[in-house]
Symmetry: C2
Subunit: 161 residues, 2 copies
């Protein structure tokens, strides 16, 4: 049975910021990743599409990197939102983050055809810069590790006119 995050930070982003291919709810062709709390950790689930293969039977690494990327920016948003005194659903707009750096260590080939689970630990390293360490599991087995530095979205990251 597929598990699901009930309260996700991405559900709270304003429409203008919901076009991300990884986690934007308005991007029809995207992955629709959703990230929430599980006690002190953050979690995201994802079941890769049939075409998301490296070789038949195994998940493509770029998809795992994408999974970790949005899981991490979502995790940072969850953490800063909480630090600011908010909870999901209280009507306040969560902060948006962008990825400064992304590192993925591929621990073992990730089996295709099962739901993946990302589990994150978030640490503040500066009021506008957060570190997210992630483990990705398939069938309970650790397949990849991620290290992301996420920063509060700068003003240079605005829509082109």
């Amino acid at each position: 049975m597929e598990e699901k995050v009930l309260q996700a930070i991405q559900d709270e982003y304003p429409d203008d910021f919901s076009w991300c291919y990884g986690c934007g709810r308005l991007n029809e062709k995207g992955h629709h990743l959703r990230t929430g709390w599980q006690k002190e950790q953050t979690i995201t689930y994802f079941t890769p599409e049939p075409e998301h293969t490296a070789l038949p039977g195994f998940v493509y690494g770029g998809i795992i990197a994408s999974f970790i990327d949005c899981h991490s920016t979502g995790s940072a948003s969850l953490a800063l939102h909480q630090k600011n005194g908010h909870v999901i659903g209280d009507g306040s707009e969560p902060p948006r983050f962008v990825t400064a750096s992304l590192k993925v260590e591929f621990v073992k080939p990730t089996p295709h055809g099962v739901q993946l689970k990302a589990v994150g630990n978030v640490t503040e390293i500066h009021p506008k810069k957060w570190s997210v360490e992630t483990e990705v599991f398939a069938n309970g087995v650790l397949c990849a590790k991620g290290e992301v530095v996420a920063v509060v979205m700068p003003n240079t990251f605005v829509q082109k006119s």
Copy 2:
């Protein structure tokens, strides 16, 4: 005008290894990344699809990570193939690589709607382990840097029965 790699290592992979979502020529829904030599460096071009956005106007980081991933494994394959005395088109099967680790530094927001160019430098660090350092350009401007360690595909990476 879009530029194109004329002789790509991915064109030489056997059919069984051409299902990668990033660079498999047989994966109909994939990105079809193709990597070749440009003097001593390796290059790959990619024009993201309309849906590959982070915000409208900018390319999604997970897509840039995917671009660097396949560019790097292709670059390692090119380099080892050359070390083994082969050139693309001589009828010999190139070695296949998998990604051990992938690091992406996002230097600046990557504009959407233009062809991206990845330029790689490949170094042997062990007969079965190669390092690929990549710079990704949009309109000639450096937008991201990649560091990948690619390893010759191990026997554990075989198709599930």
